[in-house]
C-alpha cells in the first residue's frame, strides 16, 4: 500500500512538473510576443519619423536648389546679359569706323554675340521658377522643346491630350524640372535625332511621356553604378515620390528610351 502511495506521488510529481514546464513555456512565449508587439510599434514609429525626415530634407534641398536657380537666373539677366548687351551696343557704334576687311569679322562677332545674349536669356528664363506661372506647365515644356529645335540637331514633337488642368505650383515645378532633366539626359547621352513629348491629361491623372530615338541604355546597369550627381535617376524618383507621383523609364540598348511620368490628380480632402 505504501508502495502504491509512493508510486502515485511520483506520478503526480511527473505530471505536475510537466504541466508547470508547459505553462512556463507558454508564459515565455507570451512575454516574447508582447515585447515584440511593442518593438514592432517602435520600429513603425521610427520608420515613419525617418520617412518624414527624408521628405523634409528633400523638400528643403529642392527649395534651396530653386532659390539658387533663381539667383543665378537674376545674375545672368542683370549682370552678364546686360554686360553683353552693352558690348553689342559698343560694337554697333564702331560700324562706321571699321576698315572694310575687318567689317565681315565684326558682323560675324555681332551675330554670335546676339545669339549668346538670346541663349543666356533663355537659360535665365528656364532657371527662374516664376516663369512657370506665366507660361503654365505645358507652355514651359513646349519652350524647352523649341530650344532643342533651335540647335538644329533635333526634331521635336509636342502633343497635349485631354482637358488641361492646373496642378499646384510645387507639383508643376517638380514635373518641369524632371522633364528638363530628361531632356538634358537626351542631349548628353542619347545621341538621338528625334524627341517626342506627350502630355495626356486624364480624368484622374496626368501622364507625361518623353521619348527619343537614341541609342538607349541598360536600365539595371545605371541603377547599380550611378553616383549621386545632381538629378540622377534616384533623385528623379525621390522628387516624384515627394509629390506622390511615379516615373518609369523603359529603355533597350539600340532602341531609344521612353520615360513615363504619372501624377495622380490632386483631390481635396
Amino acid at each position: 500500500m505504501q508502495n502504491n502511495m509512493e508510486k502515485n506521488e511520483l506520478l503526480t510529481y511527473i505530471i505536475a512538473t510537466t504541466a508547470i514546464l508547459v505553462l512556463l513555456g507558454a508564459f515565455l512565449l507570451f512575454v516574447l510576443l508582447w515585447y515584440r508587439r511593442n518593438k514592432n510599434q517602435y520600429i513603425k514609429e521610427k520608420q515613419h519619423m525617418q520617412s518624414t525626415l527624408n521628405q523634409t530634407l528633400l523638400q528643403t534641398r529642392l527649395e534651396i536648389q530653386e532659390e539658387t536657380f533663381k539667383t543665378i537666373s537674376q545674375e545672368i539677366h542683370d549682370n552678364i546679359g546686360q554686360a553683353l548687351s552693352f558690348v553689342k551696343l559698343s560694337l554697333n557704334m564702331m560700324d562706321g569706323r571699321i576698315p572694310p576687311d575687318i567689317k565681315e569679322k565684326l558682323t560675324e562677332s555681332k551675330e554670335l554675340l546676339g545669339k549668346t545674349i538670346q541663349d543666356l536669356r533663355d537659360i535665365a528664363r528656364s532657371l527662374n521658377p516664376d516663369f512657370l506661372s506665366d507660361s503654365g506647365l505645358y507652355g514651359a515644356i513646349e519652350q524647352q522643346l523649341q530650344l532643342l529645335e533651335k540647335t538644329g540637331e533635333y526634331k521635336t514633337t509636342f502633343n497635349v491630350m485631354g482637358i488641361v488642368y492646373k496642378n499646384s505650383q510645387q507639383r508643376e515645378l517638380v514635373l518641369f524640372r524632371i522633364v528638363q532633366e530628361l531632356l538634358n539626359n537626351i542631349i548628353k547621352h542619347a545621341e538621338a535625332t528625334t524627341v517626342n513629348v506627350l502630355m495626356n491629361y486624364q480624368a484622374d491623372k496626368l501622364l507625361i511621356t518623353v521619348s527619343d530615338n537614341g541609342k538607349g541604355f541598360d536600365t539595371s546597369a545605371v541603377q547599380v553604378t550611378e553616383k549621386n550627381n545632381g538629378l540622377g535617376m534616384r533623385n528623379m524618383l525621390n522628387r516624384m515620390s515627394m509629390i506622390k507621383g511615379y516615373i518609369t523609364i523603359e529603355s533597350t540598348p539600340g532602341e531609344g528610351t521612353t520615360s513615363i511620368i504619372e501624377l495622380p490628380k490632386e483631390t481635396d480632402l
Partner: protein
Amino acid sequence: MLKYIVMVYIIIGTIAILISFIASIVQYKKAEPLWLRLFPWYLGFTMTIQLGGYLYSHFLLKSNYFIFNIQQIADFVFWVYVFSKIYKTKGVKVVLSGLAAFAIFFSAYNIFAGEGFYNFNSKTNTIISIILLIFSLLYFAELFMNNNRINYFTIPTFWICTGLFFFNLGSIIYLGLFNYITSHKLDEDGKIYGVIMVTLNILMYALFTIGFFCRTIWKKMSY
C-alpha cells in the same frame, strides 16, 4: 479495457497527425519557404512509424522500442535540416552544427554501448528534446532580435517552432524517465502516457496545420 484505452489514444493521436498531413498536401504547391514541402514526407513517415510500431507490438507481441529509437534519430536529422534553413545568423548555425554532431554521436554511442538498440533510448530522447528546445529558443531569439516589423501570425516557421517547442517541453520529463517508469510499473495502464502524449500531439500538429495555412488565413482576415 487497457487495450481499448490504448486504441483510443492511438486513434486520437493518429487523427491529429492525419489532419496535419492532409493540410501539408493541400498547401504543397503554395508552400513557402520551400522546405515546407518536406513536411508531407515527414508526416507520412511519422504516421507510418507510429502505426507500424503499434501493429508490430500488437500482432507480434514483441517490443517495438527499436522502431522508435530509429525514428527519433531520423526525426532529429529532419529537424536539423529544417533549422539549418531557418536560421539567418552565422553564429547560430555554428551552434546548430555543434549540437547536431553531439546528438548524433551520443545516439550512436547509446545504441551500441549504452541503453542498447532494443531498449527505449530515453537518454537519447532527453538529449534530443533538450537540443530541439534549444533550437526553438534560438529561433525565437533571432525573431526577437530582428530589427524589422514582424507579424508572427503570418510566419509558418513561428507556428511550427512553437509546436515543436511545446511538444518537447511537455514530453521531456515523462520520456526522460520512461525506462524508470516502465521498470517500476508506475504507469501500468499507460493512461498518463496516453494523456500527455495525445495532448501534446494534438497541440503540436494543430500548430503545424496553422503554420501550413497561416498566410492564407491572415490574408483573408485583413480584407
